[in-house]
Symmetry: C2
Subunit: 522 residues, 2 copies
C-alpha cells in the first residue's frame, strides 16, 4: 500500500487514483446517489474517461468489449443492487468470454444497510453468480487496497469479473489511501504431462487441433497452421470466441457449428482431439434424443492447455514437438473478393456483401444469430479483421460490446451485426454511440421474428405449435422501425432490402465518422 | 395433488393447467429454447393470456403492476439465468411493493447443467436476492405440485415473489400431474397487545396514524378518517405506496416527503405514532451529517399492524376503541378543478393540468421522480383514481407497471407519468403497449437531466462538482426524441412544451383507444 500521496483524500478519490495506478482508465456508468462521490472524484483526479449509458446492460457489455480489444479491464460504476442487476446478463456473457471487468457497485452507508431502505438488497448475493471475486469495502481506509485487489482479480487469465461494493460512507469519509498495483499472476503452465500424447495424437485427417481463447490470435494461429501443415491434422475453433483474428494472409479456422446435427457431422471424423484453450464441444442446449457431447464416441480427447493457462507456450511446444517450426503454415487465407450479389437479402448474399466490404483492421461484433451462421466462408478472404462472438448466449450483447471495442480502438472501424430481437434488448446503446461519436456501423438484420426459436421448437420435439406459440416468437406486430429508433437517439440510419443497397449503406457507414445504423430487411 | 385429469401430459402442460387451476391466467414472457414446451402448451391448454415483451424487465414490471391492480399474481416465463437477470431489478421493486409474482424460469435439462454450457448459470443464486421462495423442479411428475406451491407462496400477504426453475426435460417429459390449488394462508392477526396503547396514543395534533399497504384502500382510508375525526390525530402514508385510492369523496392522505429535511419537518410534531401497514419512516439514502431515522427523537412508535398482517381488523379495532364508528370521516377530499395554467411547463403547472384531466377511475403510475414531487396537492380533488408508486427505487418501473395495470383493468384508463431518464431504462415497453393495444397514456417529463442526482450531489456533501461529474448526470447530448422513439415501436405520440398543449395532449391520449405518448419538455 502506498502512502506516497500525502494529500488527505476521501475513499472515492483513493479508489479512482488506485484504479488509474493499476492501469484502468475507462469507466462505463449510470451512477446514482450512492455513487456521487466517485462521480465527483472524476473531476478531482484526472485521467479516467467516464462514459454514460442509459441502462446498465450497456455498461457491462461495453466493459466486455473493451477488455477483448484493449486487453485490460474497464471499470463499471453501478447504482446499488438494482444497477448491478440490470448489468447482470452481460456480465454473464463477459464471464463466459473470459473478459476481465471491475465492477464498482455503490452501496448504502454501512449504518444505513440494516434499515432496509427501498433500494437495499443483497448486493453480494446478486453479484456472486456472475463474479469470480466479490468484496464489500468497510472503511475509507480500505477502499484503495480493495480496489487494487479487484483489479488483480480481474486480470487473472484469461480475465475475470471482480465486483467491489462501495458503501457511500467509505466513499465520502476521509482517510483514503492509494494502493500500489498488485503484480499480475502469470498464466500457469499448460499440462506438460499431456504434451507427448498430444504430439502423437496430431497426425492425419482423423486428428483435430481444437483451439480457443488466446490461441486465436494472428501469431498463435500461424503456429497452429504450421502444426497442421506438418501433421495433416485439422484445425477448428469453438462456436463462440472472445476474439478471432482472421482475413487474408492469416491462418483460416472454421468454427464447430451451432446446430447439433451439423456439429456432430463436423466432429465425427476425429478420433484424436487436442484441446488448446478450448473445451471439448458440447451442445448449447439439450434436445430430446440427441447427444449433448458432440465429439465422436470413443474419440481420444487430450486437454493440453486450458483457456487460463499458457497457450503460447503450449502451441510452441506442440509445434516444436511436431517438427513444424520451419514449415510454412497450412490454411492461409487468400485474398478474395466475393462476386457482387444481386436481389433481395438472404444470409448467403449478406455474407457476400460483408466479404466485399469488411475493411482492413475492422472489428466485427457478431450477434447476427440465425442470419449470421453462413457469414464465415464468404468473409474469410476479406482484409485482416477481428471477429467477436457472444460466449454466454444472453442476447443483447452486440451493440454494447461494439461500444467497448470502439472505445478501446478509436482508430479501427467497428461493424456490429445484430439480429432485430437481440438489438432490442439493449437498444439504449445507440444513444451512447452517438454521445461518444463512436465509429460503429450497426447492421440490424430485421427478419421480424425470433427466428432461432422457430427452429428450436422443432429441435426440442414440439411438432404441433399453435398460433399462440408462434405469436410468442414473432416481432412483426407492430413492425419495429429501426431507422426512426436510431434517429430518436441521435444515430443516423437507413433501411435497405436488397444487396446493392446494403453494400452502399455499409460503405457509407464505414466512411462516416461516428455511428451509423442500417436496417437490413430480410 | 389431483389425478382427475387422466390424459397423459408432459410437465409443461401440467404446469400451465395447475397455474390456471390456481387462478393465474396471465403470463408476461420472452421465452427461449428451454421454454418452448411451455410456449407450446399455451395452445394445448386454453385460458392463459400470454404477452410478449422485448426485454424481461418489462415482463417482471408488468407482473408487479398486474398484481397491484388484479389482486392476484401473474406469471412470468423467463429464459434461463440471463432472462431472469434482465428482470431482476423490477422484481426487486415488486418485492418491495409486496406484489405477488410467480416466475417460471427455464433451466437446462438436468443432465445438461453439469456440462456448463454457455447459458448455464447459478439460476437459484440469481433468484434468491429478489425472491421469497425459490425451487427447482426435478421431474415432470413434480412440476404441477411445485407450481401450486409457487402460487401459494406468491399469495402470502401482502404478496411475495416466487421463482420456480423448470429444467427443460421436466417440461418435455411425460408424467405431468395437475396439482390442486393450495388454500391461501389468512393474514395473521395484528398485534393485539399493542391495541390499547395505540388507542391511547391517537389523541390530538401531536399524534399520527401512519398508514401503508392495504390500509390505503377506499374503505380502510374511510375508517382512518373516522379515527382522525374523533381523536384529532393526523394521517400520513409512506412516500412509496403499492396502491393508494384517492380523489374527490375519499379520505385524503399525504405522503411523508422524500427529501430528508422536508420529511423531518413533516414528522417533528408527532410525539406518538401508530403504524398500520407502514414502517417507521427512514431516509431513502444516508447523507453525511443527517439522520436516517426521520421520526422525532423520543417519539413513541407503536407498531400495531405490519403490512403482512390483518390491516382491516386493525383499523376496525382502532376505530371501535376510539369510539369513532359512527363519526363522519375527516379529511374527505372535495371535488376541485384547478385553474387552467398558462405558459411553459413546470412541476406545479403540470400538477394543475393533471388535476384537471385525471379521469374517473384512472390508474396513475407515478415515476415522475423530481417533476412529480408536487403532483399530490393539485390532484387530490380530481375524480376517484388509484395512484401507484415505485416502492423499490429502481428506475424503469413505470411503463412496465402501466402495462400490467392495463392488462389487469382493461376498462380503466392508465396514465403513466415517467421521467425521461427512467423511461429509457425499459423503453421497450412501448412495443408491448402497441402490440396489446393497451389503454395507456404515457407522459414523459423531458428535463434532459438526471435531475434528482443534481440535488443529490449537494445532499451527499459534494460542493465542487466539475464538468465531468455534471456530464454524467446529463441527458441532453444528444437529445432523446421520444416522439420518434414511440412511433418506431408503434405508439402514436406528440411533443408539448406548454400547459395548454399538455392538457389537450392528455385529453387526446385518454380519448384514444390504445397507447399514446406525450413528450412534455420542461
Amino acid at each position: 500500500m502506498s502512502t506516497s500521496d500525502k494529500t488527505p483524500m476521501n475513499g472515492a478519490e483513493s479508489l479512482v487514483k488506485t484504479l488509474l495506478d493499476s492501469g484502468l482508465d475507462t469507466c462505463f456508468t449510470n451512477p446514482g446517489t450512492s455513487e456521487m462521490h466517485f462521480v465527483a472524484a472524476l473531476d478531482h483526479v484526472p485521467g479516467m474517461r467516464s462514459i454514460l449509458v442509459l441502462q446498465e446492460g450497456v455498461a457491462t457489455g461495453a466493459a466486455d468489449g473493451y477488455f477483448r480489444m484493449a486487453g485490460k479491464p474497464a471499470c463499471t460504476l453501478l447504482h446499488l443492487g438494482p444497477g448491478l442487476a440490470n448489468g447482470l446478463s452481460n456480465l454473464h456473457n463477459a464471464k463466459k468470454a473470459g473478459s476481465g471487468v471491475v465492477n464498482i457497485v455503490g452501496e448504502h452507508a454501512v449504518s444505513h444497510i440494516e434499515l432496509d431502505a427501498p433500494l437495499t438488497s443483497d448486493i453480494e448475493g446478486i453479484a456472486r453468480p456472475v463474479s469470480h471475486w466479490v468484496h464489500t469495502s468497510l472503511s475509507a481506509t480500505d477502499v484503495g487496497a480493495d480496489a487494487a485487489k479487484a483489479v488483480h482479480a480481474a486480470n487473472i487469465a484469461p480475465g475475470q469479473v471482480a465486483t467491489l461494493m462501495l458503501p457511500s460512507d467509505t466513499a465520502w469519509n476521509d482517510g483514503g489511501v492509494v494502493a500500489q498495483p498488485i503484480a499480475p499472476v502469470a498464466r500457469p503452465a499448460y499440462d506438460e504431462a499431456a504434451l507427448e500424447g498430444a504430439i502423437a495424437a496430431l497426425s492425419g485427417p482423423d486428428s483435430l487441433l481444437l483451439l480457443g481463447g488466446a490461441a486465436l490470435g494472428e501469431g498463435t494461429l500461424e503456429v497452429a497452421g504450421r502444426i497442421a501443415a506438418k501433421t495433416g491434422c485439422n484445425l477448428l475453433c469453438e462456436w463462440s470466441n472472445s476474439t478471432l483474428e482472421r482475413g487474408a494472409g492469416r491462418v483460416k479456422i472454421n468454427r464447430v457449428p451451432y446446430p447439433i446435427d451439423q456439429a456432430l457431422e463436423a466432429l465425427v471424423p476425429f478420433k484424436r482431439i487436442v484441446l488448446v484453450g478450448a473445451r471439448a464441444p458440447i451442445g448449447f442446449f439439450a434436445y430430446p434424443g440427441k447427444p449433448a457431447i458432440l465429439t465422436a464416441p470413443g474419440a481420444e480427447i487430450i486437454d493440453l492447455c486450458k483457456t487460463s493457462q499458457d497457450i503460447n507456450d503450449a502451441l510452441d511446444a506442440l509445434c516444436q514437438g511436431a517438427g513444424a517450426v520451419d514449415v510454412a503454415p497450412a490454411h492461409v487465407a487468400a485474398s478474395t473478393l466475393p462476386e457482387k450479389p444481386d436481389g433481395p437479402l438472404d444470409p448467403d448474399r449478406i455474407a457476400q456483401v460483408l466479404g466485399r466490404t469488411i475493411p482492413e483492421n475492422a472489428i466485427v461484433v457478431d450477434e447476427a444469430i440465425t442470419t449470421g451462421r453462413s457469414f464465415f466462408p464468404a468473409t474469410a478472404g476479406a482484409p485482416k479483421h477481428t471477429w467477436l462472438n457472444n460466449c454466454g448466449g444472453s442476447i443483447g450483447y452486440g451493440m454494447p460490446v461494439a461500444i467497448g471495442a470502439a472505445v478501446a480502438c478509436p482508430d479501427r472501424k467497428v461493424l456490429a451485426l445484430v439480429g432485430d430481437g437481440s438489438a432490442m434488448y439493449t437498444v439504449q446503446a445507440l444513444w451512447t454511440m452517438a454521445r461518444e461519436e463512436l465509429d460503429v456501423t450497426v447492421v440490424i438484420f430485421a427478419n421480424r421474428v425470433y427466428k432461432i426459436l422457430r427452429g428450436e421448437l422443432t429441435n426440442v420435439g414440439v411438432s404441433n405449435a399453435g398460433p399462440k406459440a408462434m405469436d410468442m416468437l414473432s416481432l412483426d406486430r407492430p413492425t419495429l422501425k429501426f431507422v426512426d429508433m436510431a434517429r430518436s437517439m441521435g444515430v443516423d440510419a437507413t433501411q435497405v432490402s436488397d444487396c446493392a443497397a446494403l453494400e452502399i449503406a455499409i460503405e457509407t457507414g464505414l466512411a462516416t465518422k461516428g455511428p451509423y445504423l442500417i436496417e437490413a430487411v430480410l
